[in-house]
Amino acid sequence: MAVLLIAEHNNKELRPFTLNAATAASQIDSEVHAVIIGNDSAEASKQLSELPVIKKVLSVEAPHYENFTAENFAPVVVKLAENYSHIICSANTFGKNLMPRIAAHLDTSQVSDIIKVISSDTFVRPIYAGNAFATVKSNDAKKCVTIRPTSFEPCESSGGSAPIEKIDAGEEFSNTKFIKREEIKSDRPELGTARIVVSGGRGMQSGDNFKLITEIADKLGAAIGASRAAVDAGYISNDHQVGQTGKVVVPDLYIAVGISGAIQHLAGMKESKVIVAINKDGEAPIFSVADYGLEADLFEALPQFMEELNKLNTIQK
């Protein structure tokens, strides 16, 4: 039986992690179908049909699908599930909210947030915020699996031409009403997908001092992160938080400034490709995961860092 991928989109276009989830789905079975539930989402459906790994697109449109309410989405997927061996979705807030509702209706024990496909029923997933990896085998007839997007490469986004089949909408769930969404807009790359992240911790000592981080992030085209300690101290808003209770990031370069490296912070960034730690405490745990450690006072090091960057002829963006 084929695998059903639930596409994540904003009604106009696919959200990028759909491509990572499609890769994971194609590692489970070569026959991947994708369902897209939305309102006026024809353009996103078309993008989905162009992913070469997708063999068929199922499109469901109705006004009550405009805001991705799980109570409306779940019955659509449950109805389609009889034809599929696996239901797959990204383990971001969209998939985390939706998939368990589907799994419970199917009486399936969901496998959350996998980082590796071993076989069609066996997966690796982090537990204890990535402090241990569990290899698990699902014995349910139907499998509901969410995937950690940053652990799978995005699939090719063009060249495919899967047929798009329209399917009937379900009823509206009347006890949940969408009111508003406040998207945090910024010229910076999104923390979860940025190539470079510069993060500050309690060592920054104040919100004002974060301008030292901002300058460097601007220069590098980087996103700005923070430790929970910096967020709790009110230096910066909580959408910047990296860690077990914030965002998990896997950039090419992670620069931790004035961050001691609490377990819960390390869980959110230690898979980064290159880690730099700047801290005046040479014994700070952050140095145990850093590729390049600089034991220095950040208030001296950051302005020097800026100067050195200004001397470079080119900076990769």
Partner: protein
């Protein structure tokens, strides 16, 4: 309004996890255990709603082995009125827990069920959503703000793109984010008083729920270690390494 709050006993969030050498799991013997952090936020919110005169009773429930009852006792010490302990041993998957909670909800008839958005041990993030599916109730997951309005709740949810606000009709499930509130500490007199509050004990099998796992744990291992890095002498060396060795800037 009556609020049922589900709490889970987990390894304390400050403890460095150690994987067992035989690969069967993580070491829990002689390890400090606590209430799952966002479950503390769930209790705090329920107690605050009661203190604001908008709820009449807060009932704390846990599902698990004998010692799991500590988490209910702690909830009673910060303001829950009474407790329920559903006894069950072994690995409990969210699907089994949500079926147990469904049975209890059918008997207790709460207007709201609160719990943390995710447990920090298995990191599943499923139970609340599964319970609302089984009950066919609305769900407000990852809540960072809750306004109680008659028979409705207005809930602000933390989503990847920012914040989302929804309105849900009671009865409903809310899963709580750490940003929802600042959980209080139990005072000594309240800890003493909590010892007298009743905790009802039920067993999962009495509820007719089979808790045997559907997902087999094949092995648990340490994540790959990063290779040891180097200390650089100064900022100039750091930038030079990033540019010419790591080639990331």
């Amino acid at each position: 309004m009556k609020i049922l709050v589900a709490v889970k006993r987990v390894i304390d969030y400050n403890v460095q996890i150690r994987v067992k050498e035989d690969g069967t799991g993580v070491v829990t013997d002689n390890v400090k255990m606590s209430t799952n952090p966002p479950d503390d936020n769930a209790i705090e919110e329920a107690v605050k709603i009661k203190e604001a005169g908008k709820a009449t009773e807060v009932v704390a429930i846990t599902v698990g082995e004998e010692k799991a009852q500590e988490t209910v006792r702690k909830a009673l010490a910060v303001g829950a009125d009474r407790g329920i302990h559903v006894k069950a041993d072994g690995i409990l998957e969210p699907l089994a827990v949500s079926k147990i909670l469904q049975k209890v909800v059918e008997k207790e008839k709460p207007d709201l069920v609160f719990m943390g958005k995710q447990a920090i041990d298995d990191d599943c993030n499923q139970t609340g959503q599964m319970l609302s599916a089984l009950l066919n109730w609305p769900q407000a997951t990852f809540a960072s703000k809750i306004d109680v309005k008659d028979n409705k709740l207005e809930v602000t949810r933390e989503i990847d793109e920012g914040l989302e606000t929804i309105e849900i009709n009671v009865p409903a499930i809310v899963t709580c984010d750490l940003r929802l509130n600042e959980p209080r500490y139990a005072s000594l007199p309240n800890i003493m008083k909590a010892k007298k509050k009743p905790i009802e004990e039920i067993s999962a099998s009495d509820l007719g729920i089979d808790t045997s796992p559907r997902v087999e744990q094949i092995k648990v291992e340490e994540p790959p270690k990063r290779k040891a890095g180097i200390k650089v002498a100064n900022v100039a060396e750091l930038v030079q390494k990033l540019k010419n060795e790591a080639k990331v800037i």
